[in-house]
Symmetry: C2
Subunit: 408 residues, 2 copies
């Protein structure tokens, strides 16, 4: 079975492509469906029609997102209606719902939003709780066409609500997908260590490289699912502690779980990473259970006043130094009596380098129980990549130090 | 002229699609080239060949990214070579370069990286300074094919280096694209206010909606560029202070520029936003010039100890309150003697709501000169959307309060 996704709109310039693709493929995968192809086109009627007709010819399920807004350049409705030789029909009930939504926000519904009350003849409405544009579901020649708005918070629940219908209509392939994560080992090293395992699963395995994390995505038929156990055992054997587990979600989620289970409370001190570590930790709902807070001591004055780094340390070794990283980690813990802490200080670039301290040099400090240390790394890449790599390396160190005490 | 981009690899599941598309289209637009279509396919040889041959038939320039890694599932080289009926040739010089790169990192080059030394017969190497996979440039039948690795920090400089070649080969369309930004006005309201302007520029205009920001992307021929001035004048008239300017980049960039020009130093206090505001401000290189630092007081204990929120305030009004937001903003300024500050406290969800304080309720505090106030908002969307909307609204308030004193 072929599933194609068509992303319509301005995403070719900027956008939401990534978020929406992750969303859509995640929701489908959980139900055992896999996307074959995705096409992104701008708001150009001829292009949209061409792309849609190609997908229509080849696919069983076509999921179209974007271009349902109220403004003139939102032409998904018209383009798909024309491609299917169907009319656009003004739906009084939907128009009433749209007006009602504006009234609840105390806004007079602008006349142009009337466009959103037009639906394609013969389509079923997919209710949009978080926005004004209704979705549409069309069945034709045994094919299923879903038309959904682009904003992720509208798209997500609408697709989730439509999944049952897809499951009823189409036999799922009875596949199960699991994701196995390995931290702190480069991609080529991962492949070298498990070459045989990869060879055996060649057709069902995908390797994803993230900052400091490799994910192995293995898809198996339901009747061969015991192979997942073998696969996981092999990973445990080959990677030891670097193997994180199955379907752990993101690394911040894993760290959150680790801390929560052990009732540990975390504090973070950031300089060059500028809040990214705190942001990633608090991306996870419920992080207030284990995250006390963070100190983004971007300037030296805050390093001195808040994290009590002695002037002499800053003068002698500089803000980017082992000593500063250690002080940062140690003193970040004190305010809220955290159990564990991590600190980041370095040169994220593109400026700020000195002959001794190149762009990419980051000191990461950790404080937990009797451990208080800092390690340095030189990360490559642009400013964002360096910051990301540093923060994920810091999360790895947190995990290591927690597990170290448990082995004893 | 048609330009198509093909993203190969695991992006269908997770990914880099967004970053790479932004990167590629940004680099091309600056040189006057516009992407027509983008296709994302998995690591499946038959799919890749089909997509490539379709693009080859219709396009003048084809930019392919991804699938050049060392591992078994990186099959871009093979797929494109087969599609073009060309051989893959082992390039000794490239292999030496790859080995050299590993040696510099004190790593023995794994045998599997040999795969990256194979290039398509008749292609020119595009040098990769930041990674091991070389890029390839192929010319055939007046068409140009660029094959580039997926990691953004490798892709970016390699595409930038190739642009000159594209410019020489293909006449650019002599178009200029400018982006005009409007803050704090909903999309439908923007369209209502400038309907005539939109009607006049219908074919060259795209409207992009971001959190709290609308971008109008206008593309004109070089010989009509005086129209940009008219366009901008109209926006100034219709949106006043809400019109931000032309090609401002991101909102954090704009805030950075505002602060830098006025020599103001910013401090941030965050609760529900958990470091996101600090992260966005420090995404901008050189932000240390105007950003003193931030306090991610996620727990009440840090709100009390660091930001000195009186216990009575927290007990009487709660952490999510006008009073707390005001104290946060006021006291965040003190440590590093910042000139201006902003604070965020609210319910980002999905849990934590009470009958009086729903998910999405955020208090934003601002302190600047004689101004010290907090405003509350109810943002809709999921956790990430709410946090994003709150932070961008806070940036808008910062801008407003700065400009307010200048009008006097």
């Amino acid at each position: 079975m072929r599933i194609e996704v068509i992303n319509i709109g301005t995403e070719l310039l900027f956008g939401r492509v990534n978020t929406n693709l992750n969303l859509i493929s995640g929701i489908l995968l959980r139900s055992g469906f896999k996307i074959t192809k995705c096409v992104v086109v701008g708001d150009n009627k001829e292009e949209i029609k061409q792309v849609f007709l190609d997908s229509y010819k080849n696919s069983d399920i076509i999921i179209i997102t974007g271009g349902l807004g109220p403004t003139f350049d939102d032409i998904t409705r018209e383009s798909i209606a024309e491609s299917l030789n169907r009319k656009l029909i003004f739906d009084e009930k939907i128009w009433e719902e749209i007006k009602e939504k504006f009234k609840r926000r105390n806004i007079e519904p602008p006349e142009i939003t009337r466009r959103q009350a037009y639906i394609i003849e013969g389509s079923k409405e997919i209710v949009n709780e978080n926005g004004t544009a209704p979705g549409m579901l069309i069945e034709e020649n045994g094919k299923l066409i879903l038309i959904l708005p682009g904003p992720p918070n509208e798209l997500k629940p609408m697709l989730e609500n439509s999944i049952k219908y897809i499951e009823e209509k189409f036999e799922r392939e009875n596949i199960i997908t699991n994701i196995f994560s390995i931290i702190g080992v480069p991609e080529s090293e991962v492949e070298t260590r498990i070459r045989t395992l990869i060879e055996q699963n060649k057709k069902n395995l995908t390797i994803l490289a993230h900052p400091n994390l490799i994910e192995l995505v293995l898809t198996l038929k339901e009747n061969e699912k015991e192979k997942f156990v073998e696969f996981e055992n092999e990973l445990r054997e080959k990677f030891g502690l670097n193997y994180l587990g199955m379907n752990i979600g993101s690394v911040p989620e894993l760290i959150g779980k680790l801390l929560k289970e052990r009732k540990l409370r975390l504090a973070i001190a950031e300089s060059c990473s500028g809040g990214l570590a705190c942001k990633l930790i608090t991306d996870i709902p419920g992080s207030s259970e284990y995250f006390i807070g963070g100190f983004v001591t971007y300037s030296n004055v805050l390093k001195k006043k808040i994290l009590k780094i002695p002037k002499t340390i800053l003068r002698k070794f500089g803000a980017v130094s082992e000593q500063t990283a250690i002080y940062m980690a140690k003193n970040a813990k004190k305010y809220g009596k955290a159990d564990i802490s991590v600190s980041f200080t370095g040169i994220a670039g593109p400026t700020g380098a000195t002959p001794e301290k190149p762009v990419g040099l980051i000191w990461i400090g950790v404080c937990y129980k009797k451990d208080l240390f800092a390690e340095n790394f030189i990360f490559s890449g642009d400013r964002q990549t360096i910051r990301e790599r540093a923060v994920y390396k810091g999360f790895e160190l947190l995990r290591e130090v927690i597990l170290k005490y448990e082995k004893k």
